[in-house]
Amino acid sequence: MSADVQEVTAPLVGGSRRRPAWRLLAAGVVVVVLALLPLMLAAYPIGLMSRILAFALLVLSVDLLTGVTGLPTLGQVAYFGTGAYTAGLVGVHVTSNAPAQLVAGTLAAALVALVTGAVVVRTSGIVFLMVTLAVGELAHQAVDSLAFTGGTNGLVGIPPITLLPGGEPLLLSGFVYWWVLVVFLLGAAVAAVVVASPLGRSMRGVRDGETRLRALGQETYPVKLSAFVVAGALAGAAGTAWVAQARFISPGDLAFDVSAFALLAVVLGGAGSLWGPVLGAAVVIVARDELSSYVGGLGSMLLGAIFVVAVYLLPRGIAGVARVRRPAWTRSRGTA
């Protein structure tokens, strides 16, 4: 299994280290355009953009594990949900202050990721996939049956966020979008820094050959656990951003299809790249929620068709399009 992931992802990360000046410029332009969107778009498309960015941060957390570390996961909804419900509960009972909700949600998710990850990262490959699926489903069942999370009805009555203590509540979708954008950019920056750091190198080492890394004398367990906690924290931050824009969270947001779509957005975008999965997340949300009405309500069918076509036309995902050269050695078939 780890060999399979390696085959999909190996060339992409190498590519990201070339021409940093050009890439920084491109990233800067994208950030400026994203920041200016509320001045150009109406309330509805801005709401859509907020949802895309929150989901994209969740997808980035899946990518850190699946694409960079080679641990395919279906469980990040557990930490997304921890962040979202923590932010929502803080909003209902303590304060509507958005930065406080962000910090609380992220820390809670990181803590839950540390506790569960300590056990989960002892596995790898398809077993890791199924154990994380179990974690995600257990979280889904937990919020569905607990009273203080609102049970099946979800958590309602979350007040609009404020930025400063005692400040005005942010009711306009443009302001909420800016907050979601800030959270997304913070999360993406953390992901980029981690990927470029020594920890990121070790994470790719685990993906490309865990046994080799061990043979060189490096313990891989702390690497995998660190990656798991960072990814959990990012998913938690994504959850707080989701609640900030939706002002509602329910067990449905932690369902199996959310996990599956987050994982598939990574594969669609190009696992291991950071910008590819973000675009993959946008494709998933737009196809499922927005284009659905143009194809007679058959959003799932459209999304399914995109997935099927992408498998054959984009063997390395969206990010693979930008990089045509493929080293021959990455084509070797995995054994499992």
Binding site: M1, D4, V5, E7, V8, T66, P72, V119, R122, T123, I126, V127, M130, V131, L133, A134, V135, E137, L138, Q141, A142, D144, S145, F256, D257, A260, L263, L264, V266, V267, L268, A271, L298, S300, M301, L303, G304, A305, I306, F307, V308, A310, V311, Y312, P315, R333, G334, A336
Partner: protein, 293 residues
């Protein structure tokens, strides 16, 4: 102890009936993963297609002959669908891209089925003559569910004989253990793999139809079946026939007995049990011999 068993006879039997169809459905998923290394996320959709064949051909009432005919039609459709899926996944390497492909197919199938059959719950009646109830240890129990258990056992025995006692079965088992070696002795493994895929899908469709009098047919059932089948095969051990059987029996009892004994914890038990098994025995309880976890 006997009192307890008396009180829960029906529950235990319900668990066995669920286990029987879960086994019939999941064994194909397991063998496909074992032989082809393909995780077919469209497996639940094939089962749902089988259930809808029941809706179209059996519906509210049918004789046993018509029901059997529906099972045969469902199996034939499953066989074709399996062949198509085998051809589609043959050139796609890597579990993640296979997941993208097969889940894409599942999404398309789900919307097509919902368009054709509507999004409400469809019922399939048990065939006439089997829709009554009989006495089991002094308690009335639906005959059809006993038939489900019988069919599940028959499929298990038949598969065991084919896999363990025939040359064909030996080739399939060898392909699970070491595909390159089978290829090296001059056997076209693509044919073996396509056959296993088609046969597994035929069983999945037949199982979906067999389960339809109990579970019905509705959009979303494909996801439920897929998740249960995945849990069954990872608990039992991927690629293993005995593992799929043990996994199905465990999952059936956990699902049904769990609800009866510990209703407040029931929803946690299935995935809790799977997580526990995988952490203690990552290869599953009865892994296929010769296969690395």
């Amino acid at each position: 102890m006997l009192d307890w068993f008396d009180a829960y006879t029906g529950t235990v039997l319900n668990g066995l009936a669920l286990a029987a169809v879960l086994f019939v459905i999941a064994v194909g998923l397991s063998l496909v993963f074992g032989t082809m290394d393909v995780l077919n996320l469209a497996h639940g959709s094939v089962s749902l297609v089988g259930a809808y064949v029941g809706v179209a051909m059996v519906g509210d009432s049918a004789s046993i002959a018509a029901f059997v005919a529906a099972v045969l039609v469902a199996s034939a459709i499953g066989l074709v669908l399996g062949g198509v899926l085998a051809a589609m996944t043959a050139k796609v390497s890597g579990h993640l891209r296979q997941a993208l492909l097969t889940l894409g197919v599942a999404l398309i199938a789900g919307d097509v089925l919902a368009e054709v059959f509507g999004s409400d719950v469809k019922r399939v009646r048990a065939p006439e003559g089997l829709d009554g109830s009989t006495e089991v240890l002094g308690t009335p129990y639906p005959v059809y569910r006993l038939v489900m258990v019988g069919v599940g056992l028959a499929v298990a025995v038949l598969l065991y004989l084919v896999l363990e006692r025939t040359r064909l079965g030996a080739i399939v088992r060898a392909t699970v253990a070491d595909r390159d070696m089978v290829e090296a002795v001059g056997i076209r493994t693509t044919l073996v793999l396509g056959g296993v895929f088609a046969g597994g899908a035929a069983l999945a469709a037949a199982g979906g139809l067999l389960a339809a009098p109990v579970l019905g047919a509705q959009p979303g059932l494909d996801d439920t079946i897929l998740l249960l089948a995945l849990v069954v095969i990872v608990i039992g051990g991927l690629g293993s026939l005995r593992g799929a059987l043990l996994g199905a029996v465990l999952v059936g009892q956990v699902q049904v007995l769990g609800v009866a004994l510990l209703p407040e914890l029931a929803s946690f038990m299935l995935f809790g049990a799977m997580g526990l098994v995988l952490l203690l025995r990552p290869a599953g309880l009865l892994p296929a011999p010769g296969r690395r976890a």
